[in-house]
Amino acid sequence: MSTEKKKNILIVEDDQDILLALKAFLELEGYGVRTAENGFEAMELLKSGELPNLILLDMKMPVMNGWQFAIEFLAKHDHLSPIVVMTAAADAKQRAQDISAIGWVAKPFELDDLLKMVKKYER
């Protein structure tokens, strides 16, 4: 297919089923996918390799939640990887603004809508 280098997505999400479905879908769409089950794991993972072209970030997670992750990520890498928030909160947009994320999807969402978001904001 494309000769372009695969784009890389980091998914940070504590629900393993959501994580699995998203990974399978994005890989199907030709992305390279890395996953972390909380903010801490994600920060560890980012210590090596290139920064992802986009981060899909859940907010409510154990150990290190989305807010804490966003603060640490921005402090370390600024806005080098755009962050799209995935949240089940009623005020998803507000959540995204809180952490100056570039976009948001409200759970539950359609995979095709998510793909549009990814394509729109990926670096």
């Binding site: 629900d15 089923d17 479905a21 399978a24 154990p62 089940a88 009623a90």
Partner: protein
């Protein structure tokens, strides 16, 4: 106007006077003394020249003590409606003397040296002038409203509590909706990816069906949790008390945890073979499982959970120690109330309705026991409960 020469025709049937009779000074004084409001008259030099019986009752001073007193005595204080001390220049009498204008329906608190709580009164004061328009006296009347005020405060408090409860319930619904959306999202995404796979000629995998089942179970559990709280709050839960070996029960709980988290290290220093306690087995199981689940959630994968049992003569104490991040003092206090897993939304750390510890508290309280947590930030937390051992050792 001089009281002694004052003559009034009465038409009040309540007084034992004939329609046509003139009032004597003594009868007039009796009338003033029979009034519910306190009446104090200050002469032109601000000193008290008259007071009735109710004034003595409200101010806590005899007539003799009152007469001759000026506007202020340092042992008595007045409060404003909002409970703040009133400066002397704001005292009703001072104000009327200064402004020559009446005061109407001013709420004041009276702090008496002999009472701990202030007396509250509605105060009216009006000036009287002589023929040369000089202020001749100030008549102050005040009605005790302490009881009414207390009632109003109680109503205000009750209303605040009710409003807070509504807010809590609203917040609760928000959180419940949020928590229900997570398994629904997983469910929906698994179905969506399965459909995409089917469309490409790929089969639906058994593991996907198992995951769907798992999320359906999780939804069902959330609903059970909601119903449980509802029943506990309405006092609809009856304990089935029977003598149970707590050590045996603990081991069952730990076995179940092992199924859910096979790699988790658990330290259980077993110093007792058997501890018989009167309890509702299923409910205590629920509490211990909740403690273990929380500890499992918050303890890093490579760290252990510690279980301890302290067998005392009258009660038994179960402790579950995690090496999680620890819990702030403020949060510790709120932890056993509904929906206070995170002090703020930004502190939300994990999924679940946050009702587990609240349910646990209710269950332990029904057993006549106590529940709590000891924690230091960075040093993990120890959740414990104790239940009385009465009646189980026969």
């Amino acid at each position: 106007m001089q009281t002694e020469q004052l003559i009034v025709r009465s038409n009040q049937s309540g007084l034992a006077l004939q329609e046509s009779q003139w009032w004597t000074k003594a009868q007039f004084r009796d009338l003033l003394d029979s009034l519910h409001p306190g009446v104090v008259v200050h002469g032109a030099n601000t000193q008290i020249v008259y007071s009735n019986r109710a004034a003595s009752m409200i101010l806590g001073l005899t007539k003799d003590q009152l007469l001759g007193k000026a506007t202020s005595d340092p042992r008595w204080h007045f409060l404003r409606d909002d409970g703040v001390f009133m400066p002397i220049e704001e005292y009703p009498v001072s104000k009327v003397f200064a402004s020559r204008a009446p005061i109407q329906n001013l709420v004041i608190g009276i702090i008496r040296p002999d009472l701990e709580q202030p007396i509250w009164a509605i105060c009216n004061a009006h000036p009287e002038f002589d023929e040369k328009n000089r202020l001749s006296q100030v008549v102050v009347s005040f009605t005790d409203i302490t009881a009414e005020r207390k009632l109003k405060q109680e109503l205000d408090t009750a209303r605040d509590v009710a409003e807070k409860a509504v807010l809590t319930k609203t917040h609760f619904l928000d959180v419940a909706a949020h928590e229900l959306r997570t398994p629904i999202t997983a469910f929906s995404l698994l179905l969506q990816i399965s459909k995409k796979n089917l469309a490409r000629g790929l089969p639906i995998e058994m593991s996907t069906l198992s995951r769907l089942q798992g999320q359906a179970d999780r939804l069902a559990l959330l609903v059970v949790e909601l119903l449980d709280v509802s029943r506990l709050e309405r006092g609809m839960v009856q304990l089935k008390l029977e003598p149970v070996d707590l050590i045996h029960l603990l081991n069952n709980c730990l076995q179940e945890l092992e199924l859910r988290a096979p790699s988790r290290k658990i330290l259980f220093l077993q110093q007792h073979d058997q501890i018989m306690v009167m309890m509702d087995q299923l409910r205590i199981f629920q509490v211990i499982s909740n403690f273990l689940d929380n500890a499992n959630k918050y303890t890093p994968v490579d760290r252990a959970i510690e279980i301890k049992v302290d067998d005392q003569p009258t009660k038994v104490r179960i402790m579950v120690k995690d090496s999680g991040p620890g819990i702030t003092k403020k949060l510790q206090e709120e932890l056993f109330n509904p929906l206070t897993r995170g002090a703020s939304e930004h502190e939300e750390r994990t999924s679940g309705l946050g009702l587990g510890l609240y349910i646990a508290r209710k269950i332990i309280e029904l057993h006549g026991g106590a529940i709590g947590v000891e924690s230091k930030l960075g040093e993990g937390s120890t959740f414990f409960f104790e239940i009385p051992k009465k009646g189980a050792q026969e």
